[in-house]
């Protein structure tokens, strides 16, 4: 019978990458401590990947993992010291595996030389240290296959000091055993792998043929097993049938196994093995199959130990899953969640439409529709709650993004010869999946920057009176409706003079400008800006920071930097929790409705004629208290024909972006509401100044204004008009 396994592939790949993550973080943990639980966790992960890949037919992955597993096994048993080289190699193997898994998923071939190289290294590491105590195994190398070899090397020494126990097992299944699809002969076959097995069937309970129910099991078995396996391993094999049978496992005798003595083939107790392949049909076989052939002994032995390992691993797994916390999560395809979110979004729209109609109706009929109104209020509340909880589904802890940094920091710091200690706080802070995915790259840039430019070499640090090991901190927490992520280092900080010199060279600022610290630090976000004296492959090409800012802005957030010369710098990223909804202010311009994020609005006011002044005849400023605010006429900027022309007739919405205020001139304000953000890009394209679109209660599309983008667009237009915005402070 063949089952199409391909539909399970996705799950397998996901499990693989989870397993690899576990391995990676575990390996990094080994740098600091040698907790046996960590090693076990790594081992388990490797083992499940091996098992999974073998059953799904990814033999390359399976055999590669096998070698890793062998190495890990030795570490776990304390037969091998944990060295930095070893960890490096294992980390490299994790990378290769990840590549292989990715290649398998995309149905492509992974770079074979890379696999071979790491495979070779693993093998040679295995050989170098275990050679001494595997004299016996080596003699058999010629005949045994490669896989067997490795097993033997890994396990022969262990076997040598293991005890052989004779177990007597009394197995009396319930009559219903076979109906549940259990097959005693399979259990016996597994037991044979553990050691030498003799089986005796007790057929006394079989009724006369006329009374036999062919689906019942009437046979009991008494088995005796000589094995080095533990009681748990034997019980494990019976775990499926334990509830449906009387099972007694007793220890008959124990003796020390001599390393050189092969297990003697059982000759005396050639008891018949009863196989119940077909229910009701009783087959009696000679026990020739039961007794292992003498010539097969080495392979058999290797097999045994392999099974032992499997059983142990399974045991470990069950123990840990029992003691570990149940996270209580399910795996759901993101499409399904998005679909759900979309539907709820639609529901919100429908609800607001109904609500509006209901209010109109209730007002016009003077109270006749109180119940309708109550119902609609109820509906509104329920819809909101539903929407909130559905949106929660997309929220993931930021640790998904943070988890790669220990590795990154470790690799990078050793590469550039710096000592860095990474601390991460607030990893459980939850954030929308999309935000999470898009924040990864900017964070990598920031961390690399801190390592490369921020934290100094140990010598420099020592000279400056700082501890040789630099500190790098990643911090995440919620504040209001936003998530704040900070990258803090205690390195050299930003050099104000350097930045100013570089900025002047690049013509970003004029010679005589008096700049605030904030302004200076913001300069490093300009495209192509780098103060690194030499370009390294780590950073210094000046493409990092502007990418960071752009990505963060695309997510509707902002990034700022703070620095103390000599004492380090802090980069703060502020992001909205979710990209799916937004608290918006609806504003009308001409016939169109636009939405402005409430977060960016400072205030809205009616303009006084005497406070409006024009500037070089082209742009207008509004004097608000002690500040001159540029007025952006949205209808002109967007090229819409309609809309009010006279500033005093409309309203000015004062918005803030990057610490600067601008005023948006609109016809009137319509109301505030939570809007579901729809992408313009999926079917259209990104438009500067527009963050997306939403659908209003009447089914019409309204555009959501992206304030920073809009201001950029405005400045660009001003520059084209030879308008000097720089003079406005």
């Amino acid at each position: 019978m063949s089952i199409d396994l391909s539909e399970f592939h996705d799950v397998f790949f996901e499990e693989c990458s989870e397993g690899l993550d576990v391995m990676e973080s575990g390996l990094l943990e080994l740098d600091h401590t040698t907790d046996s639980e960590d090693i076990n966790a790594i081992f388990r992960a490797a083992h499940s990947i091996k098992g999974g890949s073998a059953s799904f037919g990814f033999m390359e992955i399976s055999s590669f993992t096998h070698v890793m597993e062998t190495l890990l096994d030795e570490i776990r048993d304390g037969r091998r010291d944990i060295t930095r080289d070893g960890i490096d190699l294992l980390l490299a193997s994790v990378d290769v595996l990840r590549g292989m898994v990715a290649a398998a998923r995309d149905e492509q071939a992974y770079d074979q030389p890379v696999i071979d190289e790491v495979h070779q290294k693993l093998e040679s590491m295995l050989v170098t240290q275990t050679k001494v105590d595997t004299g016996i195994a080596e003699q058999k190398e010629d005949t045994a296959s490669e896989t067997v070899q490795i097993c033997e090397k890994a396990n022969v020494p262990r076997e040598a000091d293991q005890r052989i126990t004779s177990w007597s097992i009394n197995f009396k299944p319930d009559a219903s055993l076979l109906r549940a699809g259990n097959e005693p002969s399979r259990i016996f076959r597994e037991l044979m792998r553990l050691g030498e097995l003799t089986v005796e069937a007790d057929v006394s309970a079989i009724p006369p043929l006329s009374e036999i129910d062919p689906e019942n099991c009437y046979i009991g078995w008494s088995l005796s097993l000589e094995t080095s396996a533990s009681r748990e391993e034997i019980e494990e094999l019976f775990s499926w049938v334990a509830d449906e049978s009387d099972l007694e496992i007793a220890c008959a005798a124990t003796r020390q196994k001599l390393p050189d003595t092969d297990v003697e083939p059982g000759t005396g107790k050639q008891a018949p093995i009863v196989s119940a392949e077909t229910p009701g049909e009783v087959l009696v076989e000679a026990s020739a199959d039961v007794t292992p052939n003498v010539q097969d002994q080495p392979a058999e032995k290797a097999n045994t130990s392999q099974v032992t390992k499997v059983a142990e691993a399974t045991k470990n797994k069950s123990v840990s899953s029992g003691s570990g916390k149940e996270s209580g999560s399910i795996r759901v395809a993101i499409d399904k969640v998005d679909e759900l979110i979309n539907l709820v979004g639609e529901l919100v729209i429908t609800q607001s439409m109904l609500s509006q109609t209901g209010v109109d109706l209730a007002n016009s009929e003077a109270g006749h529709f109180d119940k309708l109104r109550d119902g609609l209020t109820q509906l509104e509340r329920n819809t909101r709650e539903l929407q909130e909880s559905v949106l929660q589904i997309r929220m993931l802890p930021i640790s998904f993004s943070f988890s790669r940094f220990p590795r990154l920091v470790r690799d990078l710091s050793s590469k550039i010869g710096k000592q860095v200690e990474l601390t991460m706080t607030g990893e459980q802070t939850e954030v929308d999946k999309t935000v999470l995915e898009k924040i990864g790259d900017p964070l990598i840039h920031l961390v690399r920057n801190s390592l490369d430019h921020g934290i100094e070499t140990p010598e420099v640090r020592k000279a400056a009176g700082k501890p040789e090991t630099g500190r790098l901190e990643l911090l995440a927490y919620h504040e209001g409706g936003d998530i704040i992520i900070k990258v803090i280092d205690d390195g050299a900080g930003l050099n104000r003079e350097n930045i100013i010199t570089k900025a002047m060279e690049k013509g970003l600022i004029g010679e005589t400008e008096d700049l605030t610290d904030e302004r200076v630090y913001n300069l490093i976000f300009a495209p192509g800006f780098s103060t690194a004296e030499q370009v390294s492959d780590v950073s210094g090409r000046g493409v990092g920071m502007d990418v960071v800012r752009r990505n963060v802005r695309d997510l509707g957030g902002n990034v700022s930097i703070n620095s103390n010369d000599g004492a380090g710098s802090t980069v703060t990223i502020r992001l909205p929790l979710t990209l799916a909804i937004l608290d918006g202010q609806l504003a009308r311009i001409g016939e169109e409705t636009y939405i402005i994020s409430l977060v960016s609005i400072v205030e809205t006011l009616q303009m006084q004629k005497e406070s409006i002044s024009s500037f070089t005849g082209q742009s207008e400023l509004y004097r608000l208290r002690d500040e001159y605010i540029p007025i952006i006429r949205l209808s002109e900027l967007f090229g819409t024909k309609s809309g009010k022309k006279n500033l005093e007739d409309g309203l000015l919405i004062v918005v803030e972006a990057d610490g600067q205020h601008h005023g948006l001139f609109v016809d009137e304000l319509l109301g505030q509401q939570q809007v579901v953000i729809k992408s313009l890009e999926s079917n259209f394209t990104h438009i500067q100044g527009i963050a997306g679109a939403t659908i209003l209660g009447d089914g019409k599309v309204a555009l959501i204004i992206d304030i920073p983008g809009l201001i950029q667009r405005y400045s660009k237009q001003c520059q084209q008009n030879e308008c000097l915005l720089g003079a406005v402070s």
């Binding site: 313009l680 079917n683 394209t685 438009i687 500067q688 527009i690 679109a693 659908i695």
Partner: protein, 178 residues
């Protein structure tokens, strides 16, 4: 505007011509008195014109975006796109919602195309299609799959991806220039 769709479907039956070749179905529409056809498998639905929200600083053939059951879809005025004379939208004006594959064949986008009216669904075998001669005008020859004749009238069968990709490029350029 389901009625339009049903009408179009009803007319189908009459025009089926049996040939040995595989018949492809084409939805035809009218534009300035000419009849054009597009692969019906690309057509998602046909809707009556119900307005669109204008998008700032876009080429004039972009009428804006509309709400297609929760997705925001751009709408193109095919007359303006093909540099034909504009006429006021009337009762028969419809939006053909079609799926367009990008030039890089990586992504697919849904677009609304405004035409004067939908006409029929024709079954046309590829052998019945004549290659288009080289001619000037707004229509690139790449965008024409071929010419077919039905009821003594010429049908211009369009390759919708090639037709729209030029427009998509213009849109992308417009958004980059800003």
């Amino acid at each position: 505007m389901n009625t339009t769709q049903t009408q179009a479907a009803e007319k189908t039956t009459g025009s089926a011509i049996e040939t040995d070749n595989r018949l492809d179905q084409y939805l035809t529409f009218l534009l300035a008195g000419e009849e054009y056809g597009i692969d019906i498998l690309r057509v998602q639905e046909i809707r009556g014109w119900s307005g669109a929200t204008p998008i700032p600083n876009m080429p004039d053939f972009i009428l804006g975006v509309m709400n297609l059951r929760g997705t925001v879809v751009p709408v193109i005025d095919l007359r303006k796109y093909l540099k034909l004379e504009s006429i006021p939208f009337g009762k028969t004006t419809v939006v053909i919602v079609a799926r367009i594959t990008d030039a890089d064949e990586q992504s697919e986008r849904t677009m609304g195309i405004v035409v004067d009216a939908v006409s029929e669904v024709h079954n046309i075998a590829s052998t019945d299609m004549k290659p288009a001669p080289e001619f000037g005008g707004a229509l690139n020859t790449d965008a024409i799959k071929g010419l077919a004749t039905r009821d003594e009238k010429m049908l211009i069968i369009l390759e919708i991806d090639a037709l729209m990709n030029n427009g998509v490029e213009q849109i992308l350029n417009a958004s980059e220039q800003e």
